[in-house]
Structures are given as C-alpha cells and as structure tokens.
C-alpha cells in the first residue's frame, strides 16, 4: 500500500500561509447584503476654536467667465462654518465596515461641473469601480487634472460635453486646473462602501440602514491651511500668481454602538489642534 503523507505534518506551515494571504488581501472586499432593522447614526460636525481669517486669491484669468459678480477675488476658505458653528463639506463615514447595504450614494451618478471656474460640488463621493461623469459649463478651456487615487488628466475645451471615467481605486483624489485657473481645487473620495455622508451647510449628517453593532465613526476634512505655494507668471498681467497647495486632510474618530432600529447621535468637534 502507498504511504500517504498526512496533511497534519505540514501544519507548521500554516502561519506562513496565513501571513501571506493577509499580505495579499490586506483589505477584504465589502460585501453587500440585505439589512433589516438597521439603525441610524446622525449628528453634527461643529467648529470649536477661533474664527479663521479669510483666504482668497485674485482672479487673474478669464474674469468675464470666472468672475461674473465682479468680486475680483475667489474665496478659498475650505472651512465653511455657519453662524451656529456647523462645518459643511466634512465627510463622515464608518471605518472598517465589511458588510451592509448595497452601494448607493446619492446622487447615484454624480456629475462634477466646472462653473465660473469653480468645481461643483467641492467634495464628491464616488463609489469604487463606479463611473464618474464630468463636464464644464464654462466656454473656456479647463482641464481636470487628478492626482492621488486616480490619475486622469482630461480637457474640457467645449462647454457641456460630458466625459466619463471609471474610478478604480479607493482613496482621495485631488483636482486641479492647469489652464491658468490656479485657485480651482476640489476633492473626490472614491469609497468602497455606502456608509459615507457629506455634511450639509449646517454641519449635519446622517447614515442610515446601519447593521446593529459597534463601530468606529470617522470625520474627515480636507486640509484648510496653505502649506506652500507654486509661483507662476500670469501672462496677461505679467504678475506673479500663486497656486496654493493645501495641508493634509485631518480625521477625528469616535465610537458608536448601533442597536436594531435605533438612532445614535454622534457629534464631532473640529479644531485647529
């Protein structure tokens, strides 16, 4: 009879194999499943600290299109704080959730617009693997030059033409325009699950259909300080203009326990520290 080698004898190799598979699939894919009796997490993101100075840049190019209200400057303040302290444009999400409702971010097929030399919206969530649609309402040349989790560089020479690209990798994508509009900037978050929300003008957010359980909930805000600037010469005015390079994003974590059909309130306080 042939002698068989019992699998047990190679048991000692298991830790190596386990480590290897962990290294290969560092993050397990999010699994969509039906969520019944899901709970809700809602709350407000508020600013605590001194009021920040205004941050603006002169509009040095295409003022007829970029500056219809003749303000001559573009407000670049990334911390939008309402009179009650609510902070808009903060992304609030559940960290490390592996199972839950099917991907649905509203709007389902967001269009990023370039209007009056400004990206609208300024913060955009796009599902990983989803199509992102982009257009320009302006009759001048813009380009959407991405860096970070996507690296497309797309021109918009013709108004209202919609371009579309698949966003394959999860993460933050910075946008800039190379066509002389140095003040244009926006952030896209390519996300792997639907438990993400962007705070409204009053800092409010809501995450629904959350399966019961314990979670870490994170508030993410793009950097609001100017780290450094790139100096370039504006050809019309022959003056130096500066493209601001903003600081790294900041995050704040909290714990939340969600019970079936329950509503949990989670508030965040953002500050300069």
């Amino acid at each position: 009879m042939r002698k068989t080698i019992p699998a047990k004898r190679f048991r000692f190799l298991l830790p190596a194999i386990a480590l290897f598979s962990l290294a290969c699939a560092a993050q397990t894919e999010y699994q969509a499943e039906a969520v019944t009796n899901g709970g809700t997490i809602k709350g407000t993101v508020k600013w605590s600290g001194p009021v920040l100075k205004d941050l603006s840049l002169p509009i040095t190019k295409n003022p007829d299109v970029c500056d219809p209200d003749k303000l001559k400057i573009r407000n670049l303040q990334r911390l939008e704080i309402d009179p009650n302290g609510g902070v808009a444009n903060t992304v609030v999400f559940l960290k490390n959730i592996s199972k839950g409702k099917a991907m649905s971010l509203s709007p389902a097929h967001p269009i990023l617009d370039q209007k009056n030399c400004r990206y609208e919206p300024h913060i955009l969530l796009v599902p990983k693997g989803g199509n992102m649609e982009m257009k320009s309402s302006d009759p001048i040349l813009h380009n959407i030059h991405m860096s970070g989790a996507a690296l497309y560089n797309l021109p918009f020479p013709i108004a209202d033409k919609v371009l579309s690209r698949v966003m394959r990798s999860e993460g933050v994508v910075d946008l800039k325009c190379d066509a002389g509009h140095v003040w244009m900037n926006a952030e896209i978050l390519v996300v792997a699950h639907p438990y993400y929300a962007v705070t409204d003008a009053h800092g409010n957010f809501e995450l629904t259909d959350v399966p019961a359980g314990d979670y870490t909930i994170t508030a993410w805000h793009e950097g609001w300080k100017i780290d450094r600037t790139e100096t370039v010469i504006d050809v019309d005015s022959r003056q130096e203009v500066h493209r601001p390079i903003f600081s790294e994003p900041k995050t704040w974590d909290q714990k939340a326990t969600v019970s079936a059909n329950g509503v949990v309130k989670v508030n965040f306080e953002l500050s300069d520290k």
Partner: protein, 269 residues
C-alpha cells in the same frame, strides 16, 4: 532527530516558505517586450552605470546631477510615482513595458534625457524591468490596452482647413499658442507633477516631440496625453479622421518637418 533540532528545522521551513511566498507575486521584476524578457537583477548594474546620476539610487529623480539640469525644463523623472509621459495606454494607466523600452531608446526631446539607443535591446529591456521596481503601481495595477490609432487619411487642403478648425475648437492655442509657438496665455503657468515649470511644445522649433517623431507618435500623444504634465488626453474629442486633420495642420506649423526621416527608419527595429 532530537526534539529541539526538529523544532529548529520547522522554524527554518516556515521562514523559508515565507520568503518564497512573499517574493513570488512580484511580476514587476520582469519586463516583456515582444519576445524579449528583461530582468530587474540584470537591469540594476546597468542603471547604476548609466541612469543613477540623474534619476538617483532610489529612482526618485534626485540623483547627484539632477540639480544641474536646466531648471526651466523638466527634471529627471521620479520613478517612484509611476507616472510616465510617453505611453500607448490611456491617461491614468501605467505604461506598457514596450512604452518604457521605446522611451529609453528614444530619449526625451527638449529635456536632458538622452537616447540610450547604443545599449543593446536586451540591456534596455533589463533596465525597464528594474525601473518598474521603483513604483508599487507596477505591482498593484494592470496597464489598460493600448489606444487605437485610426488609419491615416489623405493630406488635402480640406483636411488642413478642418485641422485648423479643430486646433481652435479644442483650444490647443491656450497653451501652445495661436501659431503653435508654445506661447499661449496659460503657457507660463504650467507645472509638472513635481511642481517644476514645463513649457508647452513649440511646433516651430523642430520636428521631434517628447514622445517620438512620426505622425503616429503625434496621434498617440493626442489620444493618451502626457501623464505627469498638463497635456491632457483628447481621446474624447478627436474621432477617426479628425486626428489626421489635426496632424496635417500641425505639420504645417513645423517649418522644418521632413517626412520619414533617418531617425524614423532607425527605430523601425
């Protein structure tokens, strides 16, 4: 065997298995150009001999000669970012091995990057394999298929006229200037991904582009864009014959352009 020795053998086996398992998934240690296979371990000494001066030991473009490169022009490429100008793949994708191979052989016009055509094909393939080890993109991503360049159309006065219209409609002059002299209103504000000035191509200065010299090379540049620079992809705007209309027109701006030159024949290998 004593129990202690057995234990040692087991630990040794675990370590060996981990080393083998963790080093195998790296396909990026190789390059494949036609039937040539390049190996990173053979590329390493070639890199240390010819490339390290500008591109640096870590491939980050910070070699000892880098500070001496004219600051008005693109600086040595930082390979760790994995962004490459000359590709046959769409904007945002890593290049094919053959794209990097072509760049090494061709050099990059208007920059300090010379042609490494004197190296053998095998040496260039080995260099490509080694260059790929600097960026995790080559491990984590797959290149998109190459763009498809439509068949060339006839050069006619009507095609030239259409090409001029396309140059205006697509606002090429915004950077490249009304007459293609690289002096458009946005030209002085252009920066590459490292924040260094990068002047737009001046069509009147010569016939070579950064990424080649033939009409097909020019068509490819329109369709892929030059990643890491402000030049975007026009794949969504130029369909079929329009690419050739634009090329026909742009060639009229290149006063010293000669068709099918010796250079093009050299690269027919």
């Amino acid at each position: 065997m004593a129990e202690g020795a057995k234990h040692l053998v087991r630990i040794g086996a675990v370590v060996a298995a981990m080393i083998v398992l963790m080093s195998t998934p790296c396909k990026s240690q190789e390059s494949h150009i036609g039937n040539l296979t390049g190996l990173a371990k053979r590329g390493r000494p070639i890199y240390a001999r010819y490339c390290v001066g500008c591109h640096g030991e870590r491939g980050d473009g910070a070699g000892e000669n880098a500070p001496h490169v004219n600051p008005q022009f693109p600086q040595p490429r930082d390979f760790t970012v994995g962004l490459f100008k000359c590709r046959s793949t769409p904007s945002g994708s890593i290049p094919l091995d053959s794209d990097l191979f072509d760049t090494v052989g061709r050099g990059i016009n208007t920059t300090a990057m010379p042609s490494w055509f004197p190296l053998t094909r095998q040496e260039r393939a080995d260099l490509v394999a080694y260059i790929k080890t600097f960026s995790p993109r080559f491990r984590d991503e797959k290149p998109d298929p190459a763009v498809i360049i439509p068949p060339e159309t006839a050069l006619t006065p009507a095609s030239l006229e259409r090409g001029k219209g396309l140059y205006e409609a697509n606002k090429c002059g915004e950077c490249h200037g009304k007459d293609g002299r690289g002096d458009g209103p946005s030209a002085p504000s252009l920066r590459d991904n490292k924040g260094n000035p990068i002047p737009p191509y001046d069509f009147t200065t010569g016939e070579r582009f950064k990424c080649g010299q033939t009409d097909s090379d020019l068509a490819r540049i329109f369709l892929t864009g030059l990643d890491g620079t402000p030049m975007p992809t026009y794949v969504d705007y130029l369909q079929g014959d329009q690419i050739w209309d634009l090329i026909h027109y742009l060639r009229t701006l290149q006063t010293n352009h000669k068709h099918k030159t010796l250079w093009a024949r050299l690269f027919a290998d």
